[in-house]
């Protein structure tokens, strides 16, 4: 860690990522200031220099305040901002900001709850994919995971004002947009005293610039909100204004929670993505050409322009020799999406009886997904479930010991679901790669053979594919062609495909030589290369499994380039061209990372340059250039359509080009800044089985008066399948508890270690009370606000057990990536245990009645301006 200051927000790094935290401690020992912004005082706070408790779900307000502080005091790294961001670009005349629309941007349609984004574009640039409804239904923003969002007509450059004075330039728009976010407003919204907020601003800005850098760390404390991506955007804007991107000790670190959660988005098991963040084709994509035209701009800059090569190579990996230029490389074999097919939608479809079978692969939604009750009811309405896991988990036993058995909502004798439990092989019983949180792909060697029926997913899905193909052999049904033509010919080790061969094929093969390609620049769109994921091209460079490299860090330079392999092309710091000034010189000696070596005529440095190695800083593209060729020598953001980092996002996000403070879906507080209460584009699922607690301007807020948030403990792992069953971990945190402040304990009569239950309109869960000074109430203008916290690891099986905290949480998701708002909701807390059996159902009904909850509650999402906003329920 080379940072001079580390801001940890929306993350409990010391608890959730303890081994990663060693680098924070090392930076701290070298003098870096560590700041932790979090609703509760955690083990991370205990080691920080400053802890800032804030109201859950007010991160954008806090960060917006920091942005305003930077702009008001001219503390931005102006040379960096001017050269490397889109600060100087002019935005379309039709763009209207939230300042003028009471919290909405131009283009909003209250009937669909979505934006027509054409007015957010740069001046003179065509809008692409501006259809907000489609984008909102298909989680299109996820596609920007590697390449930026597409833009048309930017190859020649965008109208700009390098002086940043033009009223429609991004910089000035930014100023206006955040004008309201004064320290006093931040303090009122977030519950943070002004002086403490200003201390954060000072630390952040004083530790940024030419000589110093600040790192920003977040995790799901930022993402599990209806404004999740905007939280990240707000953090990124600060880091860009301060010049903390692409530089040593800078950056925005997303700490991810599962061994291969990064990999499972890169090579996705997600409905709207193909590998490498290529979008899943939808109904508007008649053929490959239409698809490609849609996913990239006609003359855009950067490497995303080569998406045709990536797509064709993927199709060649999927269908091998059957994929030819004549048949559009089997593009037509791909199923099409036309809406929301994400996990929560799918679960609701299960409840409706529209889904028949379900594979659960190392995942335990009965405990680990929001609205556990809905999850279990969905599974109880399936024909069959296949559960593959290391140990018996709640999702495999819902038919006999779920909480619904007690309430009578599931009766074993009436539940028709067939359940197959397949024991899975563990990480030491198979070889393969995990991609860790900083995109490093690391190979695991198999240590031992699995026992009994334990098998890897590799075995399972390969075998399943073989069986399916056998059954369909000879079929003339056109719909079976994709299966029968599938390239299912991996090298085998015994009865299991060789993971190394699969990785080789993911890397990509030059089909003319049969050798692995060395990187994605070698991929071609003519069908002469194949690649399962273009981003991973290079992991098998020179025919060597680069992910399996394990040269000791003691024998390597600072960036340890010979340990594992990082996408893209083993580049450890993304966009590290930005660590040098436009002329190619490091901004400062202290913060040197890569630079232009004029003598050798190439980029060099401590890291692999994330830039074309031989392109000089003064390179200017010839007229008419597109793709990588169109990138200037000082365009560090090589995946972006304009080569610049985006302070203002003209496309890519469906809920606004700039982050705006909206209250959470369930909030006890009226939005102080705008008439628009919550995110106007959030996706709500208004159904009787997914009720919401009321939020302003709805009445009866006092029924659920407290703010609830949940997260992990060091000692457990997510839904507990890998920790509640392990005695050495279970004994360390043996029971579900709820943390309350001394003040709330007094107010509700809660005794330390006694029982209490937490209630929402979805459910009630029992927990032991932990009264602690670590929880503090917050001061809002008209009252004192209490927050409660629970760990969410418990379920009804395992060595230690407890109620399922996710039963409290409803389903409402952000419109960009469809992640649920599980980090903040409202609740009530009462002493004693909850009612059980049918009495529980009546108890919850009573709460809903008192709060006036109907399926329409919380679904009137447009609250700005209009008096009678439409409800977005499933009936309407």
């Amino acid at each position: 860690m080379n940072a001079d200051c580390i801001v940890i927000m929306g993350s409990n790094m010391a608890e959730a990522h303890p081994v990663g935290f060693q680098w924070v401690m090392e930076a701290k020992a070298r003098g870096a200031e560590v700041i932790h912004v979090d609703p509760r005082f955690t083990r991370t706070s205990a080691l920080a220099d400053l802890h800032v408790p804030l109201r859950a779900g007010t991160d954008v307000a806090f960060l917006g305040g920091v942005i305003k502080y930077i702009l008001d005091n001219d503390l931005d790294f102006r040379e960096y901002v001017t050269a490397y961001t889109n600060a100087s670009f002019l935005v379309d005349e039709r763009y209207v900001d939230t300042e003028d629309l009471d919290g909405l941007f131009s283009g909003y349609d209250p009937e669909t709850g979505s934006y027509d984004r054409s007015s957010w574009q740069y001046e003179g640039v065509d809008a692409e994919g501006a259809d907000g409804v489609r984008a909102k239904e298909q989680s299109s923003s996820y596609e920007a995971g590697a390449g930026g969002a597409p833009l048309e007509g930017v190859g020649e450059g965008v109208a700009s004002d390098p002086t940043l004075e033009h009223p429609r330039c991004v910089f000035q728009i930014l100023r206006r947009h955040f004008a309201r976010y004064t320290p006093e407003v931040v303090s009122t919204i977030c519950g943070v005293p002004v002086d403490r907020f200003l201390r954060v601003c000072r630390a952040w800005t004083e530790n940024s610039g030419r000589e110093r850098t600040t790192a920003l760390v977040y995790s799901v404390g930022w993402t599990q909100h209806t404004t999740g991506p905007q939280n990240v955007r707000a953090g990124s804007i600060i880091q860009l204004l301060l010049g903390n991107i692409g530089r040593p000790g800078g950056g925005v670190y997303a700490l991810r929670g599962h061994a291969n959660i990064q990999g499972s988005t890169d090579i996705p098991t997600l409905f709207n993505l193909l590998p490498g963040y290529l979008p899943m084709p939808d109904t508007s994509h008649e053929n490959l050409a239409a698809y490609l035209e849609n996913i990239r701009g006609k003359d855009q800059k950067g490497f995303w322009y080569n998406a045709d090569a990536y797509t064709v190579s993927l199709l060649k990996e999927y269908w091998g020799e059957k994929a030819t230029p004549e048949n559009d490389f089997c593009f037509d074999y791909l199923p099409r999406i036309n809406g929301d097919h994400a996990t929560y939608r799918t679960v609701m479809d299960m409840v409706e009886g529209r889904v028949f079978g379900y594979f659960l692969l190392g995942q335990n939604p009965a405990v680990g997904s929001a609205h556990g009750h809905l999850q279990r009811m969905a599974m109880a309405n399936l024909d069959w479930v296949v559960v593959r896991d290391l140990a018996m988990i709640e999702s495999a036993t819902f038919w006999k010991d779920s909480p619904e058995i007690e309430t009578g909502e599931i009766v074993p004798e009436k539940c028709r679901t067939e359940v197959f439990f397949f024991p899975a092989a563990s990480h030491v019983e198979k070889s393969g790669t995990f991609t860790q949180t900083q995109r490093m792909v690391q190979w695991r060697d198999q240590a031992v053979e699995p026992r009994g029926d334990q098998r890897s997913e590799l075995w399972f899905f390969h075998r399943l594919g073989v069986l399916l193909r056998e059954r369909l052999a000879g079929s003339t049904d056109e719909r079976d062609r994709p299966l029968l033509d599938l390239a299912w010919d991996y090298a085998m080790e015994g009865d299991e495909p060789s993971a190394e061969d699969v990785l080789r094929r993911i890397n990509g093969i030059d089909l003319r030589t049969g050798k692995p390609v060395n990187g994605y620049p070698e991929l071609r769109a003519d069908g002469t290369t194949s690649s399962g994921c273009w981003l991973y091209s290079g992991v098998f460079a020179d025919g060597v499994n680069q992910a399996a490299r394990r040269r000791s860090h003691l024998e390597q330079e600072a960036y340890d380039l010979e340990w594992g392999w990082t996408w893209p092309l083993n580049r450890r710091v993304l966009y590290n061209r930005a660590s040098a000034d436009p002329e190619g010189r490091p901004w400062s000696e202290r913060k040197a990372l890569v630079w232009w070596d004029a003598e050798k005529g190439e980029w060099t440095g401590h890291d692999v340059p994330d830039f074309e190695r031989a392109k000089p800083p003064d390179y200017r593209p010839p007229a008419g250039a597109v793709g990588p060729e169109a990138l200037r020598g000082d365009d560090p953001f090589i995946m972006q359509a304009d080569g610049k980092a985006w302070l203002f996002a003209p496309s890519g996000l469906v809920d606004g080009p700039l982050p705006t403070h909206y209250e959470p879906h369930e909030s006890p507080v009226r939005n102080l800044l705008y008439g628009q209460q919550g995110s106007p584009a959030r996706k709500v699922y208004g159904r009787p089985d997914n009720p919401s607690n009321p939020a302003p301007p709805e009445p009866n807020l006092d029924v659920f008066p407290f703010v609830f948030t949940a997260s992990r403990l060091t000692e457990h792992h997510t839904a507990g399948g890998m920790s509640r069953q392990v005695p050495y971990l279970a004994e360390l945190q043996p029971a579900l508890f709820v943390e309350v402040s001394p003040e709330l304990a007094t107010e509700r009569g809660l005794a330390h270690l006694g029982w209490a239950h937490v209630v929402t309109s979805r459910g009630a869960v029992d927990a032991r009370v932990v009264v602690t000074d670590r929880m503090t109430p917050l001061r809002l203008p008209d009252r004192v606000l209490h927050q409660v916290w629970m760990p969410y690891h418990f379920g009804q099986s395992g060595v230690v057990r407890g109620d399922v905290v996710n039963d409290l949480i409803g389903v409402v998701v952000d419109p960009n990536v469809f992640i649920q708002e599980s980090k903040v909701l409202t609740c009530d807390v009462q002493p004693g245990r909850r009612p059980r059996g049918r009495a529980l159902l009546e108890y919850l009904e009573g709460y809903r009645r008192r709060a006036g909850v109907t399926e329409e509650t919380g679904t009137r999402i447009a609250t700005a301006g209009r008096l009678d906003p439409p409800a977005h329920t499933e009936r309407t």
Partner: protein, 189 residues
Amino acid sequence: MGVGDWVRSWPVYRQLTGTDRLGRGAAARSRRSAELTPRTASADRVVGSVCPFCAVGCAQKVYVKDERVIQIEGNPDSPISRGRLCPKGSASKQLVTGPQRQEHVLYRAPYASEWQRLDLDTAMDMVAERVLDARRRGWQDRDEQGRTLRRTMGLAGLGGATLDNEENHLVKKLFTALGAVQIENQARI
């Protein structure tokens, strides 16, 4: 062992004749202690691996003896973790060798109140049948405007964040070839 050896191995004798008169150190050491070595020293092989819990990606060394995992600990060579592990990573051995690990396929028939054992091959055949059936029932060729869908909405999947990249690749590839689009994972949660 002769009487002489027996006497010489008697710690009191060693106390009287050796350097440890008080019997608190060398004289009191047992034969077992004298021959003690760490069990990792007897491993048949040491295998490089990566911790399966969070996404920091700490490197592990897996010690194997007689085809059993006898120890898992951090690999000091890793530039990410430098050999360190958190409590979960440290519990990896219990995770993979503990009695909670299931070894057999289990099947719950419709309306049944108990599990039953099932042969792996039989179970795979049953699943294959059910996949084709669900696929058929949920099949959609075109939308109401006649545009290609070419998909099935009859089956879904959840999982991947704990699987390997190679596995995810096959999962996505097979689902896609089946026309199944509803495959999701923890990254959405």
